[in-house]
């Protein structure tokens, strides 16, 4: 900033420009705010919008994932089924095995997870989403324009887990072993 005084009209023009700039640019407004409160203006390097911090990505623990997979294998032979090349078999054979998988895995799910639909309505009916709906629970698709309330057809009810009840594991139990090899003596 030079020591030379700025004329009234220049100041007026500056005020208008600052007004619009402050309204539209949050960073600029922050600088003005500091000036008005008598704090030293931020050094130039800081005025540059800071590089936004990389979003924090959680590492999920793999233990419970492996544990659940182990349970699905134990009760429902899920890993056996998925690891097998089903191309060579007839649909009847696959269907038979699918019953084993379905029955066992279903039992495991019911036992260890409380799963409920996100929306109670029947699929195919039209529903209305009020403003402030939870975007993590509801995914908008198709002609996504305008503002809420949104009205659309429920194509999938969604699933949500409201309770998890996995067995506790003893210290040092190897969860990587989904199914131990069996050797009959």
């Amino acid at each position: 900033m030079s020591d030379q005084e700025i004329s009234f009209f220049s100041r007026l023009a500056l005020a208008f420009a600052a007004f619009w700039h402050a309204v539209t640019d949050p960073d600029f407004a922050a600088v003005v705010d500091r000036l008005l409160r008598g704090e030293p203006s931020a050094p130039k390097t800081e005025a540059v919008p800071p590089v936004s911090e990389p979003p924090l990505l959680r590492e999920t623990t793999t233990d419970s994932a492996l544990q659940l997979l182990g349970l699905l294998q134990q009760e429902g032979r899920l890993v056996d089924f998925l690891q097998e090349d089903v191309g060579a078999y007839s649909d009847a054979d696959i269907g038979g095995a699918a019953r084993v998988v379905h029955e066992g895995c279903r039992k495991t799910l019911l036992e260890h997870l409380r799963i409920e639909p996100v929306r109670q309505e029947d699929e195919g009916v039209r529903i209305t989403l009020a403003e402030g709906f939870d975007a993590s629970e509801i995914r908008l698709t198709g002609n996504v324009v305008g503002r809420p309330p949104f009205s659309g057809t429920l194509t999938h009810r969604g699933w949500r887990v409201s309770g998890v009840n996995l067995p506790r594991l003893t210290e040092g139990h190897a969860v990587q072993v989904l199914a131990p090899a069996e050797v009959e003596l």
Binding site: L169, H173, A179
Partner: protein, 611 residues
């Protein structure tokens, strides 16, 4: 011992154990604060999970079989035996290390229940356990699980009610109490399972049971569990102007239950597979039985289903190629289960008894006739006179069996509602033939958990809150005495039976001393034959029977008195009288009392078996 905080009910079943409890502090009259305890147990190696039932299985693992720490429990880093769900799973593939049905062995008079005999056909190197010890282990598991959850109220200090089949003989009851004592349970009471089921029904009715029954009602309780069938008759009586309940009769010990039914279906399906040229290996039969149980429940509950697929998964990792598919049809369930186990027979039908061949392998004495309805008909006919001395119950003129007016079903078998309907149908056909009104169903029982719930409630009721079922012992007891007759070569001396405990002895009471004395030999054990009768209600102490009708007296295992040679010379014969008492716990106790009455010796009910 401090005042208990909880009343705990333990259903020590042949196939499952369940524990329920009532919080005595927060319960009042019909407002009962009760719950079923989730029992932490190993469900897979290294995985501990809570389940409402603890499968009554014990597995003796090989030292190299499980990884270190894989059998840890929250309260024990290295238990010697695996108990519960994991035991059952491991045992399905390695049966030589599995102990099952310990409860049935506990009441098997032909074996030494304190002897290490289980698993029955274990190879030399596998440690064997006694039925008593296995029972103790199950109770210890429950105790440790409880103590971990309620460290302020250890199980030893709670009011514990342990259930036994109504048909358990005095020796089996005493062994059950002994197992509980070994597990450190004090303040213990025994309760018959059908009574517990009725208590549970009363509890569930939340006070409305008084409107559902009336004085003069005769309630038949049919308890069909995984391994045993247990029958009881409970009369609704009047006492001091209020409704009372009196247990008037219990049935014989019948080893017949839901497991037999699932196994029977599995055999049907196995034969069908064999006809298609597919032979099943023993381990596959296990999976097949499992599949048949689920299919049966579908077929018996869904009237639309004509057949349900049953799959036997391959053992190897190739699931699609190796899985056997078959199906169970409505027709097969109808012929095998409904006609096989619940045939509509006449009320005069009796269970078939085959002479056992001498060379039978030592095993459990399973019921020889699978028809539940025939066992029921026999029970009701035998108990025709059960209500003779009961005020308020009118004997029906010309009846050929005792007429129940209401039925309560219990046990997992009746989850298939059509089996309960079928049993009721058979009973009502008999009643109709004698112009008696149909028996009604007492609904609302929780089939799997009722016994434990009812037992916990009983502990609460005993503290003066609510109705108690009266009844006392359901048998009179006799000791066999050789009659004084000159010996005839080749002929056993005839035996007389002297009554020492009358019918209906209440807990905490003592029978009078019989007049007749018996001789005991100092320093050597003397055995007496021992009998029970569920129909001779009128015999007083000291009554001597010279002969009795077929089936009137049932021979129990022998009892044994052993006089220590303290102040007497060995071989001396001491005259004593035998006195019976029913303990507070609910077990029968026999004492040999010396002539002056100043010396007593305990008479053992559990004598080492002959096997």
């Amino acid at each position: 011992m401090s005042e208990p905080r909880y009343s705990v009910g333990i259903d020590l079943g042949t196939t499952h154990c369940v524990l329920a409890y009532v919080d005595l502090e927060s319960s009042d009259r019909d407002e009962v604060n009760q719950d079923v305890f989730g029992i932490p147990q190993l469900t897979a190696p290294g995985a501990v999970e809570m389940r409402l039932a603890l499968p009554s299985f014990l597995y003796i693992a090989h030292p190299d079989e499980l990884a270190p720490g894989d059998r840890s429990l929250p309260w024990d880093p290295e238990p010697r035996f695996v108990v519960g769900e994991l035991a059952r799973n491991l045992g399905a593939r390695t049966p030589i290390r599995l102990v099952s049905s310990a409860k049935s062995w506990l009441c098997h008079p032909a074996v030494d229940r304190r002897g290490s005999i289980l698993p029955l056909e274990a190879p030399e190197e596998i440690e064997q356990l006694s039925p008593l010890l296995v029972t103790t282990r199950y109770l210890e598991h429950l105790r440790d699980a409880w103590n971990q959850r309620f460290p302020q109220s250890p199980l030893a200090e709670q009011a514990v009610t342990l259930t036994v089949p109504a048909s358990f003989d005095p020796a089996a009851r005493e062994l059950t109490a002994e197992a509980a004592a070994a597990a450190g349970l004090r303040g213990l009471i025994l309760l018959e399972e059908p009574q517990a089921a009725l208590y549970s029904w009363i509890l569930a009715s939340a006070g409305t049971w008084r409107k559902q029954v009336k004085v003069g009602d005769m309630i038949l309780v049919v308890d069909l569990g995984g391994g045993t069938a247990d029958l009881s008759l409970i009369a609704v009586t009047e006492s001091d102007g209020a409704l009372g309940l009196t247990r008037v009769a219990v049935g014989d010990h019948i080893l017949l239950g839901g497991d037999n039914m699932d196994l029977a279906l599995a055999h049907v399906v196995r034969v069908k597979l064999a006809a298609e040229g597919k032979q099943l290996e023993p381990w596959q039969l296990q999976a097949l039985t499992h599949g048949c149980r689920a299919a049966k429940e579908t077929l018996l509950t869904d009237p639309e289903a004509e057949s349900v697929p049953v799959m036997v998964p391959s053992r190897g990792s190739r699931l699609v190629g190796g899985t056997l598919r078959t199906e169970l049809t409505r027709e097969e369930v109808a012929t095998t289960l409904i006609e096989g186990f619940f045939p509509l027979v006449e009320s005069s039908a009796r269970p078939a008894v085959r002479a056992r061949t001498a060379l039978t392998k030592l095993g459990l004495p399973y019921a020889q006739d699978a028809a539940v309805t025939r066992h029921l008909a026999a029970f009701l006919a035998r108990q025709l006179g059960a209500t003779a001395d009961l005020p308020g119950i009118e004997a029906v003129e010309g009846a050929s069996f005792l007429h129940p007016t209401a039925v309560l079903f219990n046990g997992g078998v009746f989850k298939a509602g059509s089996l309960a309907e079928r049993t009721l149908q058979a009973l009502n056909t008999w009643l109709e033939a004698e112009d008696a009104p149909a028996a009604r169903l007492l609904a609302g029982a929780d089939l799997d958990l009722a016994v434990a719930r009812g037992a916990a409630y009983y502990g609460y009721v005993r503290r003066g809150q609510g109705v108690r079922i009266r009844g006392g012992t359901a048998k009179s007891y006799y000791v066999g005495i050789e009659s004084a007759m000159p010996a005839v070569p080749g002929m056993e001396p005839p035996i007389e039976a002297m009554c020492i405990a009358p019918f209906g002895m209440e807990e905490g009471t003592e029978a009078e001393l019989p007049a007749r004395e018996v001789g005991l030999v100092v320093g050597e054990p003397v055995r007496f034959r021992f009998f029970g009768s569920s129909v001779r209600r009128e015999d007083r102490v000291g009554a001597v029977l010279e002969h009795w009708a077929q089936g009137e007296l049932e021979e129990l295992e022998e009892i044994e008195a052993d006089l220590p040679a303290a102040d007497r010379s060995p071989g001396e014969v001491v005259p004593v009288r035998l006195q019976a008492a029913v303990t507070e716990i609910g077990t029968l106790r026999l004492d040999a009392v010396s002539r002056g009455g100043d010396e007593r010796w305990k008479v053992e009910l559990n004598v080492r078996g002959e096997a």
